[in-house]
Symmetry: C2
């Protein structure tokens, strides 16, 4: 069978060398143009493929899955609802059509004009509409950093941390896409003198996370086995869990973070499929504390994906952290198995974020809280200015990509600017 | 103007004396029958009014609101989306049509047969489909009870509790309606010897809460003022926040409850409007700790609603707690203002539960955890058996009603049986 991940595949669509979107990637997203309503697309090189136009011209007739009315939609949910295998089928078909050895579309200049839209003409939209969003806390270094700062450096990890993937529920109403400004929230905080203040957060922060998206509805009461978990997972997005540390610190006991988080979260535009990430599957860290049976797994389900956070201030950009998605203790299959072991059901389009991803090195920490050690060690930017937390006008840019043999499976960019009004 | 709450109003539909659904109530819900698909209805006495049939026969032509395609739906969301005033308009119109002095429907025996369906022929369904569910923690006695049991009786309330309405996000996928069995969850717990066990929860519990439901979509970044909050609230439901105390105790630090809660929550079938509860509006407790400005309010927004929990075991029923919705420190307007003060947006159909409602008297506590003081004081049932937590087969029945001048504005029943498979 043809392998859509084959590094030797070439497309007749020109793909710049440093592009996130070679023929081996083919992630799914939602875009619009001045003329076109929101719809599903796949980026390749500097173009976006309009899937609805391909459908209208019968290019999907050979598929087993009926994809009618899944592309001309404002969110990917109807497509995701077709399931993991259907997504593979669509991706494989597009790979075929874009292959330099395939003439079906290549020889139709009249159509190409309609099907391939320059990335400069499109607006990337929020790709999914979610009813459920869970945030894990699965990076050991992040949990240690936070535990050290706010509790006790000698007992930074709580006793349950290596026994189960700690997580909590977040809010879906305030999840936005790329290029949407993030309004600095107001709220209560405890001042240094012990009094309770109110006003704009002075500790606005990002958290670099990756999130997996589910593509099935399960029945309440039916747990998912670790070894079958990936059948329910469509792919990954970048996730920014915007945080207001001063609001969070005062409110979070005993029931967890609330207003310090739910003013906004943002997700990246292109859903990179697990299929495309297959060549980047790697072993995670040894779990020396033996997991309970329901958390044991056969196939490694960590992925080697490099992460970058750039802070743009005025016209100056500074790479403030470089991490890797593999820096998690719990993998996505363990996360999903744990989430459902009590019978909790999952739904199409659910977001499961990893928690802030921090590596061992201080320059790989995934939040300003950790990079500046709660304000003690300011981060110096390329324009000479310093940051402990984010200032109005600062733009946070996330990038993520897996790379080998000259093939870069990228996630595009997630950009959001902090504003006060 | 005609007042739909007037205690002197009588209907031509016979309403038994102890009915939850006199002409002064008229709550909204979703029902189906063997012949009819799910649709919106209003209970009156022992009948359910089919709103779609009334629409088809032009009984809503006089309304300002266009209610087409809002009744023939599996959830109330499209109707709620019309807003608070539209709901009032529909309720007022139904009150008019059912009035003993009105002949429009009363004189149409052919139609009455179609419009009024005996409650024995219908199945009550989950009335709303929610994207967001927040659980507050607003009963002072409940917070004190939990704080005493698990932390320190001398400092049972945490320092933030009287400064803000503590809350956290829950999961919507596992919210079910009445008569749906609740499967006892499996999970991790810490055994007495300190080892980590896994299996069926041995501490299955209910929590009696009331929940308000929102009927508008607000913009991200736009807080809601306490004094305008009720414009966004359609009405109230009973809410059972099913809990597994052993799972919860082991997992909840530091990010709050997760699998100990998200295996199931249940909501009652009939949304009682704030309009219908207007005569039962009362002052809440004095807030001696002065609230910050954004939590100050003009009109009292507590409601005098009596709550009962019945445990049915075999054929024996025991009233195990009697509480009142007024036993909350924070009112619904303060809750909504707090939730949005950081700019968090709200959506149509959101659920905002009160947290367990416990009064000062031990027989008014709203959970087995408190009634049995974490298992130390078993609750004796009418059949002579004892309970610390729930056993398989136990059915938990919630009732709620506001009553004065012989008029009972009731919420019907929320019934769910605990099962193991």
């Amino acid at each position: 069978m043809r392998n859509a991940n084959d590094p030797l595949l070439k497309s007749w669509v020109k793909v710049p060398e440093d592009s996130d979107f070679p023929i081996q990637n083919l992630p799914f997203g939602i875009f619009k143009t001045n003329e076109l309503n929101p719809r599903a697309g796949i980026p390749v090189g500097d173009y976006i493929l309009d899937l609805e136009v391909l459908l209208e011209h019968s290019f999907f007739n050979s598929l087993k899955t009926d994809v009618k009315n899944t592309f001309n939609q404002p969110f990917l949910n109807p497509l995701l609802a077709k399931g993991r295998l259907a997504l593979s089928e669509v991706r494989n078909r597009i790979s075929e059509l874009l292959d330099i050895n395939n003439s079906e579309l290549q020889n139709r200049p009249d159509l190409i004009e309609k099907v391939l839209i320059s990335k400069n003409r499109i607006q990337e939209l929020k790709p999914i509409d979610s009813k459920n969003y869970t945030d894990f806390y699965s990076s050991e270094q992040h949990a240690r950093n936070v535990g050290s700062m706010f509790r006790d450096p000698d007992n930074a990890l709580l006793p349950n941390w290596k026994s189960l993937p700690v997580a909590y529920h977040g809010r879906t109403s305030s999840i936005v896409g790329t290029n949407v400004p993030i309004k600095r929230p107001k709220g209560q905080f405890k001042s240094k003198d012990g009094s309770i203040g109110f006003g704009l957060s002075q500790k606005l922060d990002f958290e670099f996370e990756m999130a997996f998206i589910t593509c099935s509805n399960t029945e309440l009461g039916e747990p998912i086995d670790t070894n079958l978990a990936e059948n329910h997972i469509a792919g990954l997005l970048m996730f920014n869990d915007w945080s207001a540390r001063d609001i969070q610190a005062w409110e979070y006991q005993p029931l967890g973070p609330f207003l310090g988080k739910n003013f906004a979260s943002s997700i990246s535009p292109w859903l990179v499929t697990l299929d495309a990430l297959e060549p980047f599957r790697i072993e995670g860290p040894k779990q020396k504390t033996e997991p309970l049976d329901y958390l044991k797994f056969q196939k490694p389900s960590h992925f080697d994906v490099q992460l970058e956070v750039i802070l743009r201030s005025g016209s100056s950009e500074t790479l403030i952290t470089k991490g890797n998605y593999k820096n998690l203790y719990w993998n996505i299959c363990q996360q999903l198995a744990h989430h459902t072991v009590n019978g909790c059901n999952i739904q199409v389009g659910d977001i499961y974020a990893s928690g802030t991803i921090s590596g061992k090195e201080p320059d790989s920490y995934g939040s300003m809280l950790e990079l500046s050690w709660n304000g003690e060690k300011p981060v110096v930017l390329n324009d000479g200015s310093e940051r402990t937390f984010l200032e109005d006008g600062d733009e946070i840019i996330f990038k993520a990509y897996a790379e080998q043999e000259g093939i870069r499976i990228g996630f595009g960019e997630l950009r959001n600017r902090a504003i006060s009004n």
